[in-house]
Symmetry: C2
Subunit: 392 residues, 2 copies
């Protein structure tokens, strides 16, 4: 019970950024007595800091000025990473989730053996930590966000476009290499939490996020918690079936995946751009130059996404859906056809329930989301004292 209240208080402080005890007791419905006790213990553990200035009540602040409380940035450091097929982005953040250093590695890792990928990630983590003027043993936790189907609880990667192998115990592997607790999570879940903490869902505890990257992913926030499916699996939208064609099953990925839009051939005109991770940006340039093949591919992809989106909204009926990912960079043809297909496909009975939001976050935001996954677990840890100081 204390643990729950502690978490709530800590989370209230995080959301507010800077807040007085009175406000906390107001928002959490806890008595000021209790809030005082909990904040005292949080101060004691060094998780929060008190600041005297900064009382921003309207002019007439008569009585004793409030003491503002805020997270102690130095209470913990974590590493978050977005691992994609053609690039890796690492960030080190402080306890608030604020980025301390960033590192982007533009290199193609898919189809590499797992040992090589692990090597590269290990290297990236270590370099990014050094860039933040830290040592690895000052890092409390690492979280890797990667595409594919990931079992969060066990760190088991069932399938991922970046691995040739299936069923990899990647969290274990990386924990051993780094000597730091390492969590593996789907990249879509990471960006979902990033939006919950910092982005376009700060005000909502229920929402759905659809990520349109090389892989098509889904994040569902339900009561402030990620909905992780029964077994803690992530959702792989690309596998959704959109219909039956002459060649058999038509999956969303085959219409709206990156390779479906840009073409898959290693000799294709995008091969070079893709290798450099600039595929979508390049495509945008061509679309602006009225390249008809690409425009029609973008339109097809938008239609497919719009229909899949309508199905997801039919199932979850969230107040807001956030769309993210590199495909958004395709611009008007894609977005317009998506919107049109969506509004055609959305059933009348839930029309108006859901608001559609597009967001083009940087890769850094995704990595930051991974850091948030790690931080959330730290927030819920019992930490130092849970009550009076332990007996000596």
């Amino acid at each position: 019970m204390r643990a729950i209240n502690r978490f709530n208080v800590l989370d209230t402080i995080r959301r507010a950024g800077s807040i007085a005890r009175i406000e906390i007791s107001d928002r959490t419905q806890l008595s000021t007595t209790t809030v005082s006790a909990i904040t005292a213990s949080l101060l004691d553990d060094g998780l929060i800091l008190a600041r005297t200035e900064g009382d921003l009540r309207e002019a007439a602040a008569r009585g004793r000025p409030r003491v503002m409380l805020e997270l102690n940035p130095d209470a913990a450091r974590v590493v978050g990473a977005k691992i994609a097929a053609n690039r890796m982005v690492f960030v080190v953040t402080d306890f608030r989730g604020e980025v301390l250093s960033t590192l982007t590695l533009a290199l193609r890792v898919d189809r590499q053996p797992i040992g090589v990928i692990a090597d590269l990630i290990e290297d990236g983590v270590r370099r990014c930590v050094v860039d933040a003027n830290l040592a690895l043993d000052e890092i409390d936790s690492v979280c890797l966000g990667l595409p594919g189907v990931v079992e969060h609880r066990t760190g088991h990667v069932r399938t991922s476009p970046i691995f040739r192998e299936t069923g990899v115990d990647f969290a274990k592997e990386m924990s051993e290499r780094l000597g730091v607790t390492t969590i593996v999570e789907s990249d879509a879940h990471a960006i979902t939490l990033a939006h919950h903490w910092f982005g376009k869902a700060r005000d909502l505890d229920d929402m759905v996020l659809v990520s349109l990257e090389q892989t098509l992913g889904l994040g569902v926030l339900h009561g402030g918690q990620l909905f992780r499916g029964a077994g803690g699996l992530s959702h792989n939208l690309g596998d959704l079936v959109l219909g039956m064609g002459p060649q058999g099953i038509i999956r969303l990925a085959s219409l709206a995946g990156e390779s479906a839009i840009l073409g898959d051939q290693p000799s294709g005109r995008f091969a070079e751009a893709i290798r450099l991770g600039r595929g979508m940006a390049h495509a945008k340039t061509l679309i602006d130059a009225e390249d008809n093949t690409l425009i029609s591919a973008a339109i097809r992809a938008g239609e497919a996404c719009g229909m899949a989106l309508a199905n997801i909204v039919t199932l979850f009926a969230p107040p807001r859906v956030i769309l993210v990912g590199s495909s958004l960079a395709l611009g008007q043809p894609f977005l317009d056809s998506l919107r049109e297909a969506y509004s055609l496909a959305i059933p009348p009975s839930i029309r108006g329930v859901t608001e559609l939001v597009f967001d083009q976050s940087t890769d850094e935001t995704w990595a930051q989301g991974a850091a948030v996954v790690a931080l959330r677990e730290l927030y819920e840890s019992p930490w130092g004292t849970t009550g009076p100081a332990p007996a000596l």
Copy 2:
């Protein structure tokens, strides 16, 4: 906190049927002390009963014999109902969810004004209660399971095939008529809970149920709780989009809904059978007689369902999916094509995660499920005392 533990203990007793305190403390991880206190209060409130006999440990029972605890059937009575377009089924159950009386009314209610439907339901409830040798004021709660999109929390029916109107405050309406707390819930949710309590998901706290009736519904059980979407909406599978045809959007309902299979025309050859609620049974007879039109309709419907099912499994990855509903009565052509389409459409990455189970429950089971919805709310109510007797 007590409330939570009380509910857990009560639910443990329900699941076991008959169980000793020690076992409860074993399963709930509560201390025997706490279990004793809670069971004492439950006994005090008359929610459970103690029975000395019935200690079924293996032969050598040395020490003090266990006192078995079980639900007190008389602690409460509820009415559950399944309201369909061509029939209504009511049950009265005791506190355990055991059926005390049943009433089936075969009558077509869709397209009737809402007042008429309410009249019929009111009548059915009253008659079924009388059949159980009870008076209405001995009923603690009523739950109506009906097809369509229902907001459970408010009892608001957004759309339903049995109402011409949209946005009906049906719970309020019926509560006032009956003078008994009345809950409105989607029929799919009702049958989901029925399977959780009594049927093919007794052993699981996570599963998905798909109901193939006139309307296509979905129930998702997550951690023993119904997943009700963000706003408490139910899920209407019929609105799922399966592709784009020459006539525009193709929805699941247009391929696999009852009217899609049997034909919609009032002058059709099924008109009479449908009116009597025997549509599917009649269809089965014709299929057995090798009626090719029907067989191909059944196959089409099966394919559509199989594909939609694969999408749902892709999203939720439950350990088990239960399929229920009148369409199952179509037999081999339908089931085979469903299974085939499903196994074709299910992505390889989660193959083997989910087990498919078919179940042809009677209408009574659906109504019983509605009763379970009502009972679960009673279980969570604070009831009489929450601790020592209230001060006089």
